[in-house]
Amino acid sequence: MQKSINLRSFLTASWLGWQIESNWTDPFLFATYSIIKPVAGAAILVLMYSIVTQGNFDSPVFAYLYLGNAFYQYVPAVLTGVSWTIIDDREHYRTLKYIYTAPVNIPFYLFGRAVAKFIVGTFGVVITIAAGVLFLNVPLDWSRVDWPLFLVALFLGVLMLALGGLILAGITLMTARHSYYIGDVVAGGLFLFTGAIFPLEVLPGWLRPVGYILPITYWLELIRRSLVGAVAEAFPTFTALSNGDLLLILAGSSLVFGIASIFIFRYCDHQARERGLIDQTTNY
């Protein structure tokens, strides 16, 4: 019974999320919209790189930064997808209180609502990578991709991000609607620590530990290793660790993270009910 409620919450919410995400315009405009944002984001880095290096796209540094940035798009997409739902339902559609009173599992509902953003995010990732391979010599050789490793890492990573989104959703329950997407700013902040666009060695020593704590760091390294092994080898950060070690660390830290996120969400949720914040509107 419980299981079916979770599944139903997730599926219904996925459907709803997709309707909301895609229905505001015709498919053509929607596709354009989904492409422009990631491509512009990548182009900033490409230009920065090419200005300084006079267009030396063959260096592994470039592939490192390009792929890291491409996959990092999942971070804001999933974090925002899960957490923004609270604001959208609470202050815009004003349905949060009905969701709360319905037999719905809230975390699963939130995950479901994030699916649409995940799909759009995937679209962005694919487009970015395709552009890199076609125009910028990103050394991605399909025959040498370690698919099982890639898929397992991707799955674990997205799961971990969704749980992270749950923490933010909890925080959102207790805070006002500000003018930004909490998921996006948090992702923007963590960009610094996770070795997405430069190896951790570049950071000053006292900042590096933050990167070693974050599961995202290991996730991105695994993605790089599975797609472009040679590039990953060029950077020494994790050479001491095998793929298995990394997977174990990712799984382990995701687990810890997951447990923490469930407790944090429960705590915030409890606080929000206690203080009557479930149906507040905080426009200001």
């Binding site: 015709d26 006002a176 507040q280 509107t281 905080t282 426009n283 200001y284």
Partner: protein, 339 residues
């Protein structure tokens, strides 16, 4: 020249173009048709009609939020489409159930903010807020965050917002929505006092509560499906019904009665039945008293036992029934297509 007009509409009409989804073809929905109204300065004017009749649409046009698709309208002497800025200096509007203002601000702060938009200096604004709050009875809640207010308190805040700026013409769209009986009564007496105090104030109010229109308004327009069916003082509207006799009857019957056989009786104009807890209430309109005996015979024929029978004065509800042929709560506003 007679008294100046606060509101005037001339063949006013509004058609909405609607489309349920992107693929569907556009349809047209006739929300207002050929509305001609003249509201004098100093009048408390009511618009009475069922859901979807077009009341809010009319108010939106008069408050410069929507332009008409045909005809013209003037408020305080200014054309609502051509001189909106002049109109806006002189009006205010409150809608029932609105969620305006900012949740993080207190009631006082919200009201002060709106006063700023009308150029009312702060000391004066604060004085007026205090006073209005005392009259409406929320003075002790002025420092509550507006997100923490109950529906009724919130509506009282909205109502204060409308009166705060001392508009020449005030539009109230279902002002007592969400208020309990006592609070509605307070609001009504407040409205009446505001009007009585200054003969230059004009107020246009929409409602679907008969009592509200009857008790409060100098004149009432009955509106249905976008058309104004009648417009006069409540007394005169009811005058038209002076040839009819209204009975309210409570009976105990084994099942719902057969309307048709009652309407067959010559002289029976309307027959409506409402199941209540342990009896059946009937609203019957007759052309002359003599018909009553036949009606009573029909009760016996359908084995209904009479509990109580009373003759009553006509109400606006009866006026509505006479005009539309249905009771207000029965009107199903099916979408009217313009073509």
């Amino acid at each position: 020249m007679s008294q100046p007009l606060a509101v005037k509409t001339e063949n006013l009409g509004r058609i909405y173009k609607i489309r349920n989804n992107r693929k569907e073809k556009q349809r047209e929905l006739l929300a207002l048709e050929n509305v001609n109204l003249e509201i004098r300065e100093g009048e408390l004017f009511g618009l009475l009609g069922p859901n979807g009749a077009g009341k809010t649409t009319l108010i939106k046009i008069l408050t410069t939020l929507l332009s008409p698709t045909s005809g013209q309208a003037w408020v305080a002497g200014f054309d609502v489409t051509k001189q909106p800025a002049e109109v806006r200096k002189r009006i205010n509007m409150v809608s029932g159930g609105e969620t305006s203002g900012y949740g993080l601000l207190t009631v006082r702060e919200n009201l002060w903010m709106f006063a700023q938009f009308y150029g009312i200096p702060s000391p004066e604004a604060n004085r007026r807020i205090q006073k209005l709050a005392e009259i409406v009875g929320i003075a002790d809640r002025l420092n509550t965050k507006s997100s923490d207010l109950s529906t009724g308190l919130r509506q009282k805040m909205n109502i204060i917002r409308g009166f705060l700026t001392d508009p020449e013409v005030l539009f109230l769209d279902e002002p007592t929505l969400g208020l309990d009986v006592g609070a509605s009564r307070d609001v009504r007496s407040f409205i009446r006092r505001w009007m009585d105090e200054n003969p230059h104030r004009t107020l246009l109010l929409t409602t679907h509560y008969m009592v509200e229109a009857e008790e409060l308004c100098d004149r009432v327009a009955i509106i249905n499906q976008g058309r104004v069916l009648a417009c006069d003082t409540p007394a005169r509207l009811k005058q038209n019904l002076r040839h009819e006799i209204f009975f309210q009857v409570w009976v105990i019957a084994p099942r719902l009665l057969d309307d048709y056989s009652f309407l067959q009786i010559p002289g029976v104009k309307h027959f409506h039945q409402f199941p209540e807890e342990d009896s059946l209430r009937l609203e019957i309109t007759l052309e002359e008293e003599a018909v009553l005996s036949e009606v009573i015979n029909e009760f016996a024929a359908q084995s209904a036992r009479i509990l109580r029978l009373e003759k009553r004065e006509p109400t606006l509800e009866d006026v509505f029934v006479q005009l539309v042929g249905q009771r207000m709560e029965e009107v199903e506003n099916v979408t009217v297509s313009a073509n």
